[in-house]
């Protein structure tokens, strides 16, 4: 073996992922919870192992139950003590017991509410119940509940559940923290209750999880814990009440109704490496030094947010981002979960150890904005991934990519894209890299971004994204609906992202083969509203167009001069508006035709391939479906002369049909999608 080969073998590799499709996957030796695999115990014959049949009707909803199991699995895998804070109806204890039943792990349960006696947990001397001879001792030491969970037994794994942790007496907490410290060190717990014994403990054999209801909030006797006491724990905040979506899903499931499909997205999965990296290997990861610097900045900024109560303001349980514990945890997470993309792995770690402590989506979003900044930006031509891993992950047609020239990402275009990212956020900018990742098209030249910084600032306020649309596939064929379907069906199947069309055959039959296989997006950049304009709902096509014009004048170009094309388009519309209104009543087909051809329509509304392209790009990058519960009214006409509405982009794909221009619908609006 050459030194190069040796280095390659030593280099961090992408972990094997046994089962990414099923949220919970079982093999003979382990169970994978959203990708995090825990090994089953060898010895499961014990009264303390919960019975699996008890959990036959356990509901694995995607908002609470599945992420909780994943996060518990991460803690169990790493041997970190986990403290879960959440409302009583969330099924915290049941979830842990259900996992233990699947894994054949013992559960040792102690409810700390009302417990005042440390000896109950750690052990005490009792009269010897087996004394039969004079030489037998009068008293023997008997383990408490926690001690029995700490003792190692061949083939067994034990979970110690400390329920109602924040209802505990202070002396008990102090003793338990000594236990946690010993577990962390892998040393011994000295039973001061029995002066003679030290119990060797091992965090791979004993898992500790504490559960608590939120202090206050109707839970009598629960006082906030001292934040300093939380530092030993990985703290996870769950909602105080079952989220509405989970409640609805679980209730449907309980009553045997078919619950609405839960879209388990790939980003919910983690993938633990079969073998953790060594700290030395971390330095081999491209970009590690840059990410590390940004992580330090992130940590400081997060602490500041917390200190100034800009996040977690209403959370009754105070906590800290610990200067020593969090970096160590993040490092261990990266060692265990590095997936070939240092940005993704690092950001997952920060979500796990920082965002998980926050209750509200608003707070998580605030922190999420900081988390996104923790990234390594490779220079042009350099990858943040290892070469092989990049090929595996993109799923784009490799031969075509290799045969086409490099995308030009230097000079003004690169700067324009960076500026757009700064204004709109990385998740809202879809440039040549995203085009290549989603559709496998590597552009020989990238057109300039035609929007000024001021326009991008206004676009951000309008909730818009910036999309570079291409009109041809890697083969040079039109980027038609048919072509997009071919590319995305394969790619998304592999990535578990669902469908792009609810039925490609149906679309082809309805819109016509010619249209389906030839019409394509117009090449160039567009600013596209991610949702329909709220004021455009329940309006007919003409009224929607008025909303578009108002939005252009008052928002998109606020305090800016309208470009000449728009001035002309608006003048044209104003001059035809009255006649179009009459026409909608007398001859809707002619009205639809004229409305479709208006300059303002062509400048600000998507045609069908463009709308498909835009939602596909966003979903591919962000695992989020735009227009999930609404329709946008497009510029395209269907074969019957109706103006096409497109939306309801669920896991089964995007829906569309024709709509007469004079009709209104509460779920139909328009997404402002301008190309100039």
């Amino acid at each position: 073996m050459t030194p190069d080969q040796e280095r390659q073998n030593d280099a961090p590799k992408t972990p094997e992922v046994a089962a990414e499709k099923e949220p919970i996957a079982e093999s003979e030796v382990g169970i994978s919870y959203l990708g995090v695999t825990l090994e089953k115990a060898e010895s499961t014959d014990s009264q303390f192992v919960p019975k699996r049949e008890q959990y036959a009707d356990f509901i694995n909803d995607k908002e609470v139950a599945l992420p909780l199991q994943r996060d518990v699995a991460v803690a169990f895998l790493s041997g970190e003590p986990l403290l879960v804070d959440g409302g009583t109806s969330l099924g915290k204890t049941t979830t842990v017991r259900k996992m233990a039943s699947e894994l054949g792990w013992e559960v040792h349960y102690a409810n700390l509410n009302g417990a005042t006696d440390v000896e109950d947990l750690m052990g005490r001397y009792i009269p010897n119940p087996h004394k039969s001879k004079p030489e037998d001792p009068e008293y023997i030491f008997a383990d408490g509940k926690v001690t029995s969970g700490l003792r190692q037994e061949e083939g067994k794994v034990k979970v110690v559940i400390l329920d109602e942790f924040n209802a505990s007496a202070p002396n008990i907490l102090i003793r338990l923290h000594e236990v946690l410290d010993a577990l962390e060190r892998g040393s011994e717990v000295v039973l001061s209750e029995d002066a003679s014994e030290a119990v060797q403990v091992n965090k791979s054999k004993t898992k500790v999880i504490a559960l608590m209801n939120p202090p206050g909030k109707g839970y009598f006797g629960r006082e906030p814990l001292d934040p300093a006491q939380l530092r030993r724990w990985v703290y996870k905040k769950l909602p105080s009440e079952l989220p509405e979506g989970t409640f609805s899903y679980a209730t449907d499931a309980l009553f045997g109704a078919t619950p609405e499909s839960q879209n388990i997205t790939p980003d919910m999965f983690l993938a633990a490496r079969e073998q953790a990296l060594t700290p030395e290997q971390l330095q081999e990861i491209p970009g590690m030094a840059e990410v590390l610097e940004k992580y330090k900045e992130f940590h400081r900024a997060s602490k500041e947010l917390l200190k100034s109560r800009k996040v977690a303001e209403d959370q009754p349980q105070p906590f800290t981002y610990d200067d020593r514990m969090e970096p160590r945890r993040v490092r261990d997470f990266v060692l265990r979960f590095y997936n070939g993309d240092i940005n993704e792995t690092f950001q997952q770690a920060l979500r796990y150890y920082y965002s998980n402590k926050l209750e509200t989506d608003v707070d998580k979003k605030k922190l999420g904005e900081l988390i996104r900044l923790v990234e390594y930006k490779p220079k042009v031509g350099e990858s943040k991934r290892k070469g092989l891993e990049r090929e595996e992950k993109t799923g784009a047609p490799e031969t075509k990519r290799a045969a086409t020239p490099e995308a030009k990402l230097e000079g003004p275009v690169a700067e324009q894209i960076e500026a757009a990212i700064e204004k709109l956020g990385r998740e809202n900018v879809f440039g040549p890299q995203e085009v290549e990742k989603t559709f496998g098209v590597r552009l020989a030249e990238v057109p300039d971004v035609p929007f000024s910084i001021e326009e991008l600032e206004r676009a951000e306020k309008l909730g818009q994204m910036l999309v570079l649309r291409v009109d041809k596939t890697p083969d040079g064929k039109p980027m038609s609906m048919e072509a997009m379907n071919e590319i995305l069906v394969k790619k998304w199947k592999k990535e578990g992202k669902g469908e792009i069309f609810n039925s490609a055959d149906w679309w082809k039959n309805w819109i016509g083969e010619e249209f389906f296989s030839k019409e394509h997006p117009r090449l160039g950049w567009a600013l596209v509203s991610k949702d329909v304009l709220p004021e455009s709902l329940s309006k007919n096509y003409l009224e929607q167009t008025e909303v578009i014009i108002k939005t252009l004048k008052e928002k998109a170009f606020k305090d800016l001069e309208l470009p000449e094309e728009y001035t002309e388009a608006i003048t044209e519309f104003e001059s035809k508006k009255k006649k179009l209104a009459e026409l909608m009543d007398s001859d809707w087909q002619e009205a639809a035709k004229q409305l479709s051809a208006l300059k303002i329509t062509q400048l600000t509304r998507q045609n069908i391939p463009e709308a498909v392209y835009d939602v596909a790009m966003y979903h591919d990058k962000n695992n989020e479906r735009l227009l999930a519960d609404k329709y946008t009214w497009l510029s395209s006409l269907d074969p019957g002369g109706r103006l096409v509405r497109l939306g309801e982009f669920g896991a089964e794909g995007v829906d569309g049909f024709g709509w007469e221009p004079g009709s209104r619908d509460g779920g139909l609006g328009v997404s402002l999608a301008r190309r100039l």
Binding site: P50, R97, S101, H108, N111, G114, D120
Partner: protein, 136 residues
């Protein structure tokens, strides 16, 4: 016209608790009514458990909560729906763990209202931990 809601009988209540995934709770106004309830339970084939740990040993059983046994009763009620119950005997320093066969069990806790109120204020939120409750 007035609308009256029929108060279910104890027997009807026990039909509800049979097979339930949560423990039932009977709340007596006073000690005298508690005696009446326990006699009725005895008459309907329920056996009184002296220790919470014994509750699961019989298919139909009840446990009268007093202050000394409050924590055990609370621990039992809290764990019962989770598929496994671990009861710790402080005297023997031994844990017993069992998985309830919900379909065949009918377990009820009985408490005097004043005692219940005291327990609630101590943080033993029995009313949240139990399933169906009965008082007349």
């Amino acid at each position: 016209m007035t609308t009256q809601t029929k108060t279910p009988s104890l027997e009807e209540f026990l039909n509800v608790t049979a097979g339930s995934k949560e423990v039932g709770l009977i709340i007596a106004k006073d000690a005298s009514q508690l005696d009446g309830f326990t006699r009725s339970l005895d008459g309907m084939g329920f056996k009184r458990s002296d220790k919470v740990a014994d509750l699961s040993k019989l298919q139909k059983s009840y446990f009268v909560i007093d202050e000394g046994a409050a924590k055990d009763a609370y621990d039992f009620a809290v764990q019962y729906p989770s598929g496994q119950v671990e009861i710790f005997d402080k005297e023997q320093m031994q844990s017993q763990s069992f998985s309830p066969d919900y379909g065949s069990l009918n377990l009820v806790l009985v408490v005097v209202k004043d005692d219940l109120n005291k327990l609630q204020t101590k943080g033993f939120d029995l009313l949240s931990a139990v399933g169906p409750a009965f008082q007349s």
